[in-house]
Symmetry: C2
Subunit: 337 residues, 2 copies
DNA sequence: AGGCTAAATGTGACCGCTAACATGAACAGG
DNA sequence: CCTGTTCATGTTAGCGGTCACATTTAGCCT
């Protein structure tokens, strides 16, 4: 295969110096239109493509961004990553993704090391566990890092969903419907989203003079299902569940159907995320919508502003919307209908 | 910020020449252990990190791979991309993803151009539309391309699910249960997966002496739902649907519930994909499982073999598994129960 | 026409790394 | 003790761009 042409080849073909070619590439203003078109023609005929490695070397600027994403196929992270990539590309940046297992410190470190070798100029982290974030911030040196829906600190770039207010809204909705015994099925304790949602739940329960009760889950569909099968619904007029994500909620609803318990007749259920499926399950799930696209876009915008030295805010917070569907209804008086 | 150290800095610190440092980096055999550890120490204390742009320039080898993925947040593509990335990283390659809208030729071209500028050494395409693939193969020159579950040709790298046999198995399952009027709700015509599944369906229907009938869908949940609401179930003892993906099937099941039509009592439904939710919808969906992880791994393995010059096969095909759940049952005699 | 300024283009060095070749030290055999 | 090998290391050039600066050309005024 014949080697790729470089600026010198183009220069010869266009009868100009290599620097002139470089000027054309970089849209330098002081170049005669006539020369410019001659160079452009030469580039076209030779099939010239600038070598980004060479440019990166000369400028010490790689135009690369990294996305560190947790090791799952959940739609949330995938969607955020996807939209971040689009936003970055629009600004001429390349996005290198790197999947990690956030519970394994070695995996996290290897992932970062991998990205740092590349010379990334910014990093987005979609790994919403408390531990991982600290490790990451230490390793990247002066590379800006934006976290998505994760650690929440005033001094760092972060876009997050206001999980506290989401948890609170979910709970308040159930309280408003007259429910008294509301149980929260949470995510794992070491996820920031999880603790914030639980905190919103707890605060709202206490404010309403109710007793919070939390069952720890792990985001998994199968776990929601299992808890749904096991939970004791006889003892004390248990009438509502706020479940920390839709996947567990979908599993939970399935368990209710299997047990012949009517939702929302006997039990009301609120989820969190608003997956597409949530509107089509049985019954359609009341939930809190997270706008992953918006989250991804804002995160990338924060990161790019930081890289390009624009001032701007460092924190951004999205409020999830309560989407009321059929899985919640007013509580029956004292005992179930 | 102090500039990143380079090999010369390390060389000075270790009192060797820069080339010796380079040799240590590249694990050259002829280096005295004593010298090597001295260099290693110097690198450690200076916090040296090799500059990949410089290496790429010197070697004309970027170690970059591209993934072109269609513009959706479906779990299939996300999962495949994710597993391809892991496999590539294990071999020291970097993966740059690029989301495109495969129905928009400009978007496809821009995406490829973006990746080609980087100097990718291989490309994986997860954009299962007929048109896109041809455009892509033309643009990449001699860069190897692997397609996932897409165009299927004997002369190119490709991993695909045997959609024909999947469509056939789904249909045969319904035929075996005694259904006579089986309708297929397909994906869009310009997707290869779509036409292959439909072909499997049609062939099996004809073999069984039945009349195929296809309604064209578009993969969307909402479309499955809409078709489910609109479809005429009275006229001719319509008793079974083979739906080209689980998302549409989930929407369809929802419509059946809303219309009070019992599944599988009156109508049997088979999907395709085996999403996690499919096992937890109502009723749990009979479907064909696609192993996205395996698909991603095999695709990357094919691509890397090609890049690294190993011989090996060029085509790989996975057979989807029929997963029988509760949404299918034997047909009632003549008219519905 | 001469002289001055601005616009357009050319020249050389350098970014950090590796390949190819050159050199030096250590050691063997005669 | 000298030469021929081998091993370990050093030296130089070049990958394909960009920058800083040098040079040429063009435009304008007097």
């Amino acid at each position: 295969m014949p080697k790729q042409p470089n600026i010198y080849d183009v220069a010869v073909a266009a009868k100009v110096s290599h620097q002139t070619v470089s000027r054309v590439i970089n849209h330098s203003p002081s170049i005669k239109p006539e020369t410019k078109s001659r160079v452009l023609l030469a580039m076209e005929t030779l099939g010239y493509r600038p070598n980004l490695a060479a440019r990166a070397l000369a400028l010490s600027k790689t135009n690369m961004l990294g996305i560190l994403t947790s090791d799952t196929d959940f739609t949330g992270p995938a969607s955020m990553a996807h939209h971040m990539e689009s936003a970055a590309r629009a600004q001429g940046f390349f996005v290198v993704t790197c999947g990690i297992d956030p519970s394994d410190e070695k995996s996290v470190k290897d992932g970062i090391e991998h990205l740092m070798k590349l010379g990334i100029e910014g990093l987005a982290v979609i790994a919403p566990q408390l531990e991982a974030v600290e490790v990451i911030r230490k390793m990247v040196g002066s590379v800006p890092v934006v976290t998505l829906d994760s650690m929440y600190r005033m001094d760092e770039l972060a876009v997050s969903v206001d999980n506290f207010s989401g948890g609170s809204a979910a709970t308040q909705h159930l309280v408003d419907l007259g429910h008294r015994n509301i149980v929260h099925i949470s995510g794992p304790k070491n996820w920031f989203e999880s603790t914030a949602r639980a905190a919103g739940y707890t605060a709202t329960m206490l404010t309403a003079g109710l007793t919070p009760r939390v069952i720890e889950g792990d985001w998994e569909l199968s776990t929601g299902h299992r808890i749904g099968l096991e939970v004791n619904l006889e003892s004390k007029a248990l009438s509502a569940f706020f479940i920390a994500n839709d996947r567990m909620a979908i599993g939970f609803l399935h368990a209710m159907r299997q047990r012949g318990i009517s939702v929302p007749g006997q039990v009301s259920v609120v989820g969190f995320d608003d997956l597409e499926e949530s509107g089509y399950c049985w019954p359609p799930l009341t939930t809190l919508r997270q706008d992953f696209k918006e989250l991804g876009n804002r995160a990338m915008s924060l990161l790019l502003d930081e890289i390009l030295g624009k001032p701007g805010r460092k924190l951004d917070r999205l409020i999830p919307d309560l989407v009321i569907r059929d899985s919640t209804a007013a509580a029956a008086e004292s005992t179930g209908q």
